[in-house]
């Protein structure tokens, strides 16, 4: 109880500045945190609260102009939750895609990290620089490149497959097929997401003491066993972080879907929660429903993140 100590009356006069100092020291971190917290509050908290508020209102273009709107309780949510489109299309797209993309990103990133860890420093710098290009590529440009690669008539993939006789000369419109559409999105996302995982895991790998591996090797452990019983447990927190972050990113993928052919049409089979929220709000000018979708996405993400974080902290307690 440090706060009770300062109030000893006998030495009041001389002790007070010291107590002030202590208090000051306690306040200092907060004072330093105020600018970022203020910015976060304005740029993040305010929009979130605004979306929450909008999601309980009947808010269309007319309300946007007049600024007046009616409170309709949970109507927006009730309408969305009873819409088969949510359950059959949007939620499936969001969750299944995110699960596959996260798993692929983390596995591929880890494999690349293991490769990097075994390279000589100079080669490693070269390879890391190369994969960083994929990471640095802006989502919009990257997506257009993927669309060109998979162009149904002229794209390199279509041309090669036609030349090999895998698909008929007429071609195949994979953008219209939900599975292939998301396969292309997954390629895009994994391509731009794995470098982060690789570099982060590599940083972790370099801290694993060599003796542990040596001991395991002496005990006769193969490469897989050494990874699974030595590397993975040591790097568990690192894996938790990259998984949580990848999950958050892959749940709220937007540009990579919206820009694809068929990814921006309301009612299409290709939308995920994020794109649906946008199309509802700005395509159909139904900002109340759009906000409700966004709020549901946020809640879903919070739920997933909490599960992950709990798993992570439980691991910490064990050690």
């Amino acid at each position: 109880m440090p706060l009770t100590a300062p109030v000893r009356p006998t030495e009041g006069g001389r002790r007070a500045p010291v107590l002030g100092m202590r208090r000051r020291r306690a306040l200092l971190p907060w004072a330093l945190l105020v600018p970022p917290l203020g910015v976060i509050g304005l740029l993040l908290l305010f929009p979130i609260l605004r979306i929450g508020w909008l999601s309980f209102r009947d808010f269309k273009l007319r309300n946007l102009v007049s600024g007046e709107s009616d409170f309709i309780g949970l109507d927006n949510y009730a309408m969305l939750l009873t819409d088969p489109y949510l359950w059959r299309v949007v939620l499936v797209n969001t969750v299944v895609f995110a699960a596959v993309a996260v798993l692929t990103t983390v596995v591929l990133g880890t494999l690349v990290a293991l490769l990097l860890a075994n390279l000589k420093p100079v080669t490693r710098v070269v390879v890391v620089s190369c994969i960083m290009v994929a990471w640095a590529m802006p989502a919009v440009s990257g997506t257009y490149v993927w669309i060109w690669i998979f162009d149904v008539d002229q794209g390199i993939v279509a041309q090669s497959l036609k030349a090999l006789g895998v698909i008929e000369p007429a071609g195949y419109n994979w953008f219209a097929d939900r599975f292939w559409f998301y396969a292309i999105v997954t390629l895009n996302i994994v391509h731009s997401g794995f470098p982060f995982v690789a570099v982060t895991v590599l940083a972790g790998l370099l801290t694993v003491p060599g003796e542990l591996h040596e001991a395991a090797r002496i005990d006769g452990a193969g490469a897989w066993k050494r990874f699974w019983h030595v590397t993975f447990p040591t790097l568990r927190p690192v894996f938790a972080v990259v998984t949580v972050l990848s999950t958050i990113w892959d749940f709220k993928v937007f540009a990579q879907i919206y820009l694809m052919p068929g990814g921006d049409v309301g009612g299409s089979q290709m939308l995920n929660l994020g794109v649906w929220a946008y199309v509802r709000s700005f395509g159909q000018n139904d900002f109340g429903t759009g906000s409700a979708i966004a709020a549901m996405l946020t809640l879903l993400l919070l739920g997933v993140t909490v599960l992950y974080l709990r798993a992570m902290f439980r691991e910490d307690e064990l050690r």
Binding site: L19, L61, D151, A176, V265, G266, F282
Partner: protein, 427 residues
């Protein structure tokens, strides 16, 4: 006592918070524009470059009114999102070009300034377009230009293979089949999937209605009638059964169609009246090689085509409404009204101005004028219509058929159902 002393140090975070607030608030208030500059948004799509035209207009306007003009070109595809965002953020322009199908929605929402008091003589404008901007006797838009879609074709290739301009659907199909055989590697007749105005003519031409209002005010769609289906079946059949299009065209919009003509890939395609100029602008080799014919009727005559176009509107509450109107007036009367038509390939939306085109000798203009004057049609002038477009009802129907996800019967049924649901539910 200790508490009071500690208080001394509190201002530090308070000051930083104030600083942070001030710093971030700057970003929010920065959009404020000075009153002596007029913000104008003009749409861009399949029309030729309009920069030079607007430089001239703006010089004239600045000379007359002493107000600088700032024109921003907005791609059609982004227009709706951008306007909604601008309304929400209070950063709307003073003057905006709105497509005929958008105007009722924004007018109904109260975003636009009532221009009835300024317009001297509404009868000089093309009436169908003028009505698109009228709600409860107030006019929220001034017709600027009309656009119409007919078929642009490669005159040189037609001549080479002895083909004539087709006079009905069957001839159109046979011409395309012959050309597809003769010109391997070219696309005889692209059937674009993301171009709803290329689909509507066939619905109308077959005898269906996208939407009609009954006497009791409810809307009915006969896209799924035998007639409507015949039209949809014919158009999609050109791609699915006759292989006259390409698989990739399912993802094409009107700009992609235009590019396929400009790249000398397509032999003929449903195109906008502004396209010939834009195509020649991007590929001068095609000068003198393009021709245009009116969409032929199912048996004879013409098939109705979507007559769109734009109105110019002034946003409400910008404080610049008066100057905005002056700018609209400059564009929709006199010299610039006609000059825009000549330069863009669109038709000035005035009665006298359009009629002047009916006798045009220009083979790239006259068929479009005929189509507009004799076989043009628009979509319902109701605010809810733009939601039918925003939800991609026609596009979705068309793509489902082209992708083989639905039969013509299934797709037209669900489209008709969606159109009726949206229009009857109101806005």
């Amino acid at each position: 006592m200790a508490r009071r002393r500690a208080h001394k140090y509190v201002p530090l975070p308070a000051a930083t918070l104030a600083l942070a607030l001030a710093a971030t608030a700057c970003g929010g208030g920065g959009g404020d524009t000075s009153a002596d500059s007029l913000q104008v948004w003009i749409m861009e799509g399949t029309n030729p470059d309009a920069t030079a035209f607007f430089d001239a207009v703006n010089d004239t306007f600045t000379g007359q009114a002493g107000i600088d003009v700032d024109v921003e070109f907005v791609p059609w595809a982004d227009a709706q999102d951008k306007i909604s965002t601008a309304i929400a953020g209070g950063t709307t322009p003073d003057v905006i070009e709105l497509g005929t199908t958008f105007t009722p929605e924004f007018a109904d929402a109260g975003a636009l300034h009532d221009l009835s008091g300024y317009i001297d003589d509404p009868s000089r404008f093309q009436q169908e377009m003028y009505e698109m901007g009228v709600i409860d006797d107030a006019a929220y838009g001034v017709p600027w230009y009309a656009s119409i879609r007919s078929i642009i074709y490669r005159r040189d290739i037609f001549a080479e293979h002895g083909q004539e301009e087709p006079q009905n659907w069957d001839e159109l199909r046979r011409t395309a089949l012959d050309l597809a055989e003769a010109e391997e590697g070219m696309i005889a007749f692209p059937v674009p999937g993301s171009a709803q105005y290329s689909v509507m003519p066939w619905i109308w031409g077959g005898g269906g209605e996208v939407a009609v209002q009954e006497d009791d005010g409810t809307w009915t769609s006969t896209v799924n009638s035998a007639e409507g289906r015949a039209g949809v079946e014919f158009f999609t059949g050109l791609a699915l059964e006759d292989g006259l299009s390409t698989t990739g065209a399912v993802n094409w919009n009107e700009i992609d169609v235009m590019e396929s003509l400009a790249d000398e890939q397509a032999i003929m395609a449903i195109s906008n009246s502004s396209n010939p100029k834009a195509i020649i602008e991007s590929n001068p080799d095609l000068e003198d090689k393009l021709g245009v014919f009116v969409l032929p009727g199912q048996e004879s005559g013409y098939t109705d085509s979507f007559a769109g176009g734009s109105l110019l509107s002034v946003f409400e509450g910008t404080g610049n409404e008066e100057a905005g109107w002056q700018y609209v007036d400059l564009l929709t009367s006199g010299e610039y009204f006609e000059r825009w038509g000549q330069e863009s390939g669109f038709f000035p939306a005035g009665v006298a101005e359009i009629e002047a085109y009916a006798d045009s000798e220009d083979p790239l203009v006259r068929p479009f004028a005929t189509q507009l004057l004799e076989a043009g049609r628009s979509t319902p002038a109701v605010p809810a219509w733009s939601r039918v477009e925003a939800e991609g009802v026609i596009v979705g129907m068309h793509q489902d058929i082209l992708n083989g996800n639905a039969t013509v019967e299934e797709a037209t049924d669900s489209a008709a159902e969606a159109i009726e649901r949206i229009l009857n539910e109101g806005s």
